[in-house]
Amino acid sequence: MIWFSALVLIPLAAVVVTAIDGGWDVFWATITNGQTAAAIRLTVFTAAGVTAVNVVMGPLIAWVLVRDRFWGKSVLEVLIDIPFALPTIVAGLVLLSLYGTGSPIGIDIANQRPAVFLAFLFVTLPFVVRMVQPVLEELDRDVEEAAASLGASRFTTFRRIILPSLTPAITAGAALSFARGVSEYGSLVLLSGNLPFKTEVTSVRILSSIENDNVAAAAAVATVLLAISLAVIVVLDLIQRRVAARG
């Protein structure tokens, strides 16, 4: 407990304390400052957009991995985990090699907004897939057969039986993917160019405040990110309890 407090809780508390040290007005002024607000907006909207893509692609990938059988499937399994294990800075470099200057397919989005989107998409790939996959595996085939014997078509069975069973897992995955997107830093360093008002995300903004020795401003913005992380954790906890109640 003490260890956890010293390492995690006290430092995070320090961030919040420093942020509100100067009073509410200063805090508000800091985070609504033009460049900062632009960074927060870009981060949140891009993370939301990426999460939307993951909500569609994640269950789809999980479905193929669980229900389909074909040669090379285990390779796909490994591919899913790569973004999770790969150092973020390397992830940025990896994406740059295909979608940056000198791209072999002629797509150069380096230092542009789509680059931010792409980086988020890469690092958040595993979350929804890995949340949905075990639930889909455990899903009782009997239930689908019961629906079929009651006259439901395969599509109806998917929409009314399978999808609702997956909803908690999809939501949990989406929450994690959003949180990860919002807090992403490493993969953007090389890819997005960190241009103010254009491709600068919140984490980068905090870092430049730190480097300019403006710790109070850094802490204020960091508090916003912390609040988002906490919100996600609360959402996850609520989902877990709901699933437990459903049994």
Binding site: D140, D142, V143, E145, A146, A147, A148, S149, L150, G151, A152, S153, T156, R160, I161, P164, S165, T167, A245, R246, G247
Partner: protein
């Protein structure tokens, strides 16, 4: 005839699940598919429901050729051993599911659901989630759900298999009474011969993918077609070259009847009013015999006593199969 199955074959890999099965199941009756685990009875039921495809053979339901119909078009009700409840729906929603699929008017659905919940004694649980019900209640809900669509046949796959002994017995009686009210053609799979004998009008005994015998519970018990059916439906022992029930053996303290076999009582256990004996005959057989307590007393039986055994007059006997020893 409600369900006609002919020439059905089914293999899983090189395991033969069904081997040329032909069965006719009569309308309006409660039929049990009885047999040991792995004997193919569930596979047969699932093929009738359209949840599994036979390799060869045909199935017709109520005179309609159904071999190639998908499950959703067969209008059968299916009840699973582990209930297969829709966890995210309330009890009422579960029961309404099939009717909603069929796009019935809302008030009709509501009315029908209420009626069914009353029938299965779950009215007060209509708005609960299945996770808040006991196993027995879940299975009754599953039954109501299957009945809601007014199926032409109701199929139950080991419906009480996951329940504990007491609930199992209650539900069994309840199913019998329910069937007497509803009269839908019902087929249920079980490996419990007592359950089949108690509930079913007719029993189909299935073993190793083949139908061994079809008949009423009495017929099967009194006139078993072979050693397997006989041993599956009750206790069996072997005396000389025949198989018979342990209570169908006459036991005397002296050789009075022709053809009696001499033996020694090697073990004696009293259970309530009956006494179970193990007798070692001079032929080297180990025979189980059940006598009443009064009978045992009057002969002064104890371990080590010498006795003479004879098949009782009118006993059910079948020639002994070498393999069944």
């Amino acid at each position: 005839m409600s369900i006609e199955v002919s020439g059905l074959n089914k293999k899983f890999g090189d395991f033969v699940a069904l081997d040329d099965v032909n069965v006719t199941i009569p309308t309006g009756q409660l039929t049990a598919l009885l047999g040991p685990s792995g004997g193919g009875k569930s596979t047969l039921l699932r093929i009738i429901a359209g949840l599994e495809k036979a390799d060869t053979g045909s199935v017709s339901i109520e005179g309609v050729e159904a071999t190639h119909l998908p499950a959703q078009k067969r209008n059968v009700g299916f009840v699973f051993q582990h209930y297969a409840v829709f966890k995210h729906m309330t009890v009422a929603k579960n029961v309404a599911f099939g009717l909603e699929i069929r796009k019935r008017p809302k008030d009709e659905i509501e009315h029908r659901v209420q009626e069914l919940l009353k029938l299965v004694h779950l009215s007060q649980f209509a708005h609960r989630l299945p996770s808040q019900l006991s196993g027995g209640q879940r299975q009754r809900m599953a039954l109501a759900r299957a009945l809601a669509v007014e199926p032409s046949v109701l199929l139950l796959d080991e419906p009480f298999g996951a329940l504990d002994a007491k609930v199992r017995k209650e539900l069994r009686d309840w199913l019998r009474r329910l069937h007497d009210d509803v009269h839908v053609t019902t087929v249920f799979v079980t490996h419990d011969q007592e359950e089949a004998m108690e509930v079913a009008d007719e029993i189909v005994v299935i073993n190793e993918g083949r139908v061994e015998q079809v008949g009423s519970p009495d017929q099967l018990y009194d006139e078993p077609a072979n050693d397997f059916v006989m041993s599956f439906l009750g206790e069996v022992t072997h005396l000389g070259g025949i198989s018979l029930r342990p209570h169908d053996i006459e036991l005397e303290a002296s050789p009075q009847l022709a053809g009696s076999v001499e033996g020694t009582v090697s073990r004696m256990v009293r259970i309530g009013f009956e006494v179970r004996l193990t007798v070692l005959t001079v032929d080297g057989d180990e025979v189980s015999v059940v006598v009443t307590r009064a009978h045992a007393r009057s002969h002064g039986l104890q371990e080590g006593s010498t006795v003479w055994l004879t098949p009782a007059a009118g006993a059910t006997v079948v020639p002994r199969m070498a393999a069944a020893v």
